[in-house]
Amino acid sequence: MKTRTSILLGSLSAALVALALTSPRVVAADKVDPVADAKAFQNFFFQKFPNVKHEDFVNGPYSMNEDMKRQWQEKEEFPPYEFALDAGKEMFATPFKNGKTYADCFPNGGIGIRQNYPYFDEREGKVVTLELALNRCREANGEAPYSYVKDEMASLTAYMAFTSRGKPMDIKIPDDPRALAAFENGKRYFYTRRGQMNFSCAGCHVQSPGERIRAETLAPALGILNAMPIYRSEWSGMGTTSRRFVTCNSQTRAVPLEPQADEYRDVEYFLSYVANGLPISGPGARP
């Protein structure tokens, strides 16, 4: 009995030593490396589409198809998001009942800051999107929150994006394991297949940009959020990033999450980070 125990102990400690020896290597291979991920992500698109200018990826399907691009450029002379933009500008300047404005809630008065959203809030330990920050601003000032998907929210973000046009996306990942975990979680969501049709986000927007899915031309995932919010002719109205995620999920017959669910915030964080350096082009117009 005694010998058996010691043999057992001996093999256990040997196993522990072996584990201790191999584990640093395992950790290194699994380490979350957003910088390398972003580089690999961007290079994939640059190599797949060598003729597309890098800053043109933010124009979605129009970067993939010359004919669509010409039609869009004509449309941009009189863009369909113009009413939303004007409404957003007016809303942004109108004070709340307590006399404060949106400008009081944001750095630089909310002007030209779209490229810094979403950001990782180290106090909360979660990703905070622009829509979330806007509704928190409303609630902090005693106003009812807006719907996350369209109308007022889309108008406000349209105006904020417009004041940031051309500025390169600049998402930071702080040195915080929770921020890296959020990035990794977003990445996982992006590449995971789901729904009755077994689609992942990547299946369409990484493997097949420029291809058609029914009548639509698929947009590249690189820079896809730089154009948000968008006027979609299919919706005959404006929609936010949340609306896009929800409809993407339901079109592939997956169960959509609640707008601004943790996974959506993480996938927005991931997609925005890998588009760092590409210009903000929102508000956009899409077929």
């Binding site: 009189f78 369909p80 009413f83 005959s236």
Partner: protein, 103 residues
Amino acid sequence: MASSIRVRATANGDITEVQALIQHPMDTGFVKDAKGELIPAHYIQQLKFECNGKDVFVADWGTAVSKDPYVKFSFKGAKKGDDLKVSWTDNKGASDTTTAKIS
């Protein structure tokens, strides 16, 4: 409230090119809302562009025109600085008017 009409008119020689965007729901009367109730028809019946006291473009519309309609056309006989008056009336009796200078 801001005007429901956006218009831009540019003269190039004898030809004036006009683009207009109008904010209007253009409900057909066949669509149901979230509660399952029909949204009553609400659409622009007439859209009119006038220049120097003359109608240059008159459209009699029905429900088949899209929401927030966009119109583009060109006409002869106006010059830079002339006024272009745009007006619409809908089936509920509402209307809006705006005047733009041809540039």
